[in-house]
Amino acid sequence: MNEQAVRTGIALLLLLGVALGVMTYGGLGYRREMAVAALRALVQLVAVALVIAWIFSHPQWAFAYLALMLVVAAYTSNRRIGGDARDRMAILLAILLGASATVAIVSVTGALEFSAQTLLPFAAQMIGGAMTAASLAGVRLRDDVKDQFTVFEGYVALGATARQAGREFAQRAAERSLFPTLDQTKSAGLVTLPGAFVGMLLGGASPLLAAQIQLLVLIGLMLAQTITALITTRTISPVSA
């Protein structure tokens, strides 16, 4: 174990220990949950770091990793929405199309080098962002339909299928799902320093390069999430079976 890892370990123990101490002092609950969450994060991040390190030396496995991530994202999002197997497939396609359109643009333009080192983390972030958009848009769609069920029935009573009727609610649901990214993008650098930017600075990159990469991520998320939200709201069933 190198010296840096030891120092990180000491810092982590101190950070967590002081946090738990402050919580105890303030009479706050959830100390146990906090400690468990920290432990989980440690295990998960070390595991993922090992996997990614292995993939960097075996780049032919990058696609398998992304495919697995895609499947997990579709399952997670579909569970949030409460959809069936057909909805899950629709969500999987929506995330796939959103993320791949973005990755295609950044790699074809050469903005990111075509290598596992750059495209894997970028694609992973796009899949994660697209998953969030799919969940928000799908939940929103079903809530809206439930809230305005008599209007929904009005479309169906004229001979629309449930999906055709759902399309009348799709636009608003898709728009709403983009708000978090819109806010994040607007406030980037002012109210918050976004993750990729901070990470690159910490890793020793120049601030301008960090800004470039962060912009690719933010604007990339806009595209990935827009595509994913639109497809999700137009293809999943608007009512639970």
Partner: protein, 263 residues
Amino acid sequence: MSTDAHEHVFQLDDVSVVYGTHAAVSKVDLAVHARQITAFIGPSGCGKTSILRSLNRLNDLVPGARVEGLVSYRGTDVYADGVDANDLRRRVGMVFQKPNVFPSSIYDNVAYGPRLHRLKGSLDDRVEAALMKAALWDEVRTDLHQDAHRLSGGQQQRLVIARCLAVDPDVILMDEPCASLDPIATERIEELMIDLAADYSIVIVTHNLQQAVRVSDMTAFFTADYAEDGTRHGRLVEYASTEQLFNAPADPITRDYIEGRFG
């Protein structure tokens, strides 16, 4: 009046509507006559709305809902395999208790159905004809592209009727269409129903007995029986011409209900 002399649009044989394991209404037999107004009356929980919604298969949207027995529309079992419920709903339109206008313009509300079904001919003409038949054209002709929510309740309900008419239906189902309207708006809808019955078959669920007397040709009276566990089970008590049902009811329960003794 002999019912056999009539053309039937709907024929119900031993129809029950079941939600999960609970039969909301059971064993209904009746025939809906063409180009007449048929009223379904009865106390809350008697299943009249469930039966109405079985006619256009709108209960298909309710998880766990199921229809037993035979509902036939012009000779076809509407619940048979291979029957397209969306096609049925184009032929059998529906007007709801609260006017459920779409969040778009007056024009787009009426044009929704023709666009959906890609109906032939000029869309403008079709929208105009539907609004004329629904007795709304004169009030909205200069505001066709205004938001439909700006109309009054009575106008919104006539817009919903126009929306149905725009896809050339055969039957119009109305689920308490005047429940949210004032007496003047109600009167306009009732006049409109009587006009429309020249060309369309209408089935209306109403809590208003006077309305049934004023507009309908045939009336079905449903009642609700309470089981020991408190659940309600609807059944059809009597189905006859409106005149006969109100003046000479065959069943004492019908008489008690129309005389206002319960419900």
